[in-house]
Symmetry: C2
Subunit: 294 residues, 2 copies
C-alpha cells in the first residue's frame, strides 16, 4: 500500500500529452453517491453502498477511458466509507491508470510540514498524478506535493456562493484575495516548469467556470499554470466561461464535468454505453466551444 510508485517528474507534460493524444481538454469527475447509483448496479451489489460505488465507478472508468484524457476522483465520496472506501478508491485509481487515464485526486488537502508530506505520500501510494490543494497555508502547503512528483492544483477561485466571502475581498494593493493567491500560484508554476511541459508548471489553479470575466483576469495572471475548471454542465457554466480559461486552442486548461456524465441516463438499458456517449458529447462540446473561439 505504501510502497512508492513510478513517479512523473513532469506532471504538466504528462497531462498536456494526454490531452493532445485524445484531442479534448476534458476530465470526468468521479464522485459517486450511493443514492444515485443505477438500479441494476445497486441491486447487483446487494444494496451494499461500497460495493455498489465500486462497481459503478469501475463502469464509469471503463466507459470514459476511450473518450477523455483524465478523471478526477473525489476523495470524500470514498473516505465517507472509511477504510473500505479508501481501499476501493485505491483499486479504482489503479484501474484508471492501467487504462491510460491521468488521475487527479480531488482531496483539497491543506496542511504543513510533515503532515503535508504524509498527504503527498498517500496520494503517490494511491497512484494519483495530480492532486487538488488548499492555498491558505502558503507554499508550504503546496510544495511537498510537487517534491513527491505530483502536480498540484491550488484552489484559486471557486464558484460556490460563499467563496466570495474570502476570495473576492479587495486588498489594499487593488488585487482581490483570489488574485493574490493566483500570483502565488504563478510564482510556483514558473518555478516548477518541466523541460517538455509547454511552459506549464507542476502547480496549477482550480478556477470555477461560472464567471468569465474573473476567469479571463486570472488567466492573464497565471500564464504558466494549467487551470482545472469545474462547474461545466450541471453547475451551469457554458462556452464563454470555458473559453476564458484557455490560453490557445485546447491548451491551458482542463474542463471537468461529473453529474452530466455519470447520471446521463440512469434508466438506460446499457448504462455504460450511455456514460460513454455522454463523455464523448462532453469532449465534443468543449472542443467545439474552443474552436469557435480560435
Amino acid at each position: 500500500m505504501h510502497a512508492s510508485r513510478p513517479r512523473h517528474p513532469d506532471p504538466a507534460s504528462c497531462l498536456t500529452a494526454a490531452v493532445e493524444r485524445v484531442g479534448a481538454p476534458v476530465c470526468v469527475g468521479l464522485d459517486p453517491v450511493a443514492e444515485r447509483l443505477p438500479a441494476p448496479i445497486r441491486s447487483a451489489a446487494g444494496d451494499d453502498p461500497v460495493r455498489g460505488i465500486e462497481a459503478f465507478s469501475r463502469a464509469v472508468i471503463e466507459a470514459v477511458a476511450p473518450a477523455v484524457p483524465c478523471v478526477k476522483v473525489q476523495s470524500a465520496c470514498f473516505e465517507r466509507y472509511g477504510a473500505a472506501g479508501f481501499a476501493v478508491m485505491a483499486r479504482l485509481i489503479a484501474e484508471a491508470r492501467a487504462l491510460g487515464l491521468i488521475v487527479i485526486l480531488d482531496a483539497k488537502r491543506g496542511d504543513i510540514g510533515l503532515s503535508t508530506a504524509h498527504y503527498a505520500a498517500a496520494a503517490v501510494s494511491l497512484g494519483a498524478h495530480w492532486v487538488t490543494v488548499s492555498p491558505y497555508l502558503g507554499d508550504e502547503g503546496i510544495r511537498p506535493f510537487v517534491d513527491a512528483g505530483l502536480g498540484a492544483f491550488a484552489l484559486v477561485r471557486t464558484s460556490n456562493p460563499s467563496g466570495d466571502a474570502i476570495q473576492a475581498l479587495p486588498l489594499a494593493d487593488g488585487r482581490t484575495v483570489a488574485e493574490a493567491v493566483a500570483d502565488e500560484v504563478e510564482r510556483l508554476a514558473m518555478a516548477t516548469r518541466g523541460d517538455r511541459s509547454g511552459g506549464f508548471g507542476a502547480v496549477g489553479a482550480v478556477v470555477g467556470a461560472t464567471r468569465p470575466e474573473d476567469a479571463a483576469r486570472l488567466r492573464a495572471r497565471m500564464p504558466h499554470a494549467i487551470f482545472l475548471v469545474p462547474g461545466y454542465g450541471a453547475q451551469g457554466a457554458g462556452g464563454a466561461e470555458i473559453r476564458a480559461c484557455f490560453l490557445r486552442g485546447i491548451t491551458g486548461a482542463v474542463v471537468t464535468a461529473s453529474r452530466s456524465v455519470l447520471y446521463a441516463a440512469p434508466e438506460a438499458p446499457d448504462v455504460r454505453a450511455a456514460i460513454h456517449q455522454a463523455a464523448t458529447a462532453l469532449a465534443d462540446e468543449v472542443t467545439q466551444a474552443l474552436a469557435v473561439a480560435g
Copy 2:
C-alpha cells in the same frame, strides 16, 4: 463503519466541560511517524510501520487520558498508510472516546456541497467530536460539519512562515485576510452557540501561538469562538503567546502540543510513564502560565 454514532448537539459545551473536569485546557497531538517510534515498540511490531504506529498511539492515548481532556488526531499520519492506516485511526479514536477523551480530527478538510457532507459523515463515523477545516471556500465548507453534529475549528492564523503570504495581506478596509476570516468565524460561532456552552459556538478558530499581538487582536474579534492553539513547546511558543489566546482563566482556548509529549523520553525504560509525565507537565505549565495572567 458508516453507521451514525451518537452525536453531540453542542460540541462547545462538550469540550469546555471536559476542560473543566480535568482543570487544564490542553490537548495532546497524536501525529506519530514510523521513524520516531521508540525502539521497543518498533521491534515488537516486527518493523511494520502501521502496527508500530497503532501500538505507540494506543500507549500514548492510555498514558495521557488521565492528564488531559482531549487529543488531536493528525489524519495525514494515518492516511499515509491507506486503508490500513484509516482502519487504525478509527480504532484509536474509538479507544480515546472510551477513555473519556474529546477527539479533534485534524484533517483540515475544505470542500463544498455533497463532498463536505461526505467528509463530515466520515468524521462522525470515525467518532470525532471536532474537526479542523479550511476557510477558503467560505461557510459552505464549514457548516456541513456543524450540521452533522461536529464542532469545526477553522484555520484562521497559522504560524508557519509561508502562511503570511495569504493570511497577513492587508485588505482595503484595514483588516488582514486572517482578520476577515476571523469575522466569518465569529459570525458562525455566534450562530451555533449551544444552551450550555458558556457562550461558545460550534465553530472555533485555529490560531497559531507564535505571535502574541496577533493572537490578542484575533481573540478580541472572536469572543464566541474557542481557539485551538498549536505550536506550544516544540514549535517555540511560550506563556505570553498562550495567554493572549484565552478569555479568562482556563476558558476560551485549548493549547495543543505533540512532539514534546510523544517523544519526551524515547529511550526511557517505561515509555508510557514518560509520556504520562510529559502530559502532566504540559497541563501544569499551561495552567500556571494562565494563573500568572489571572
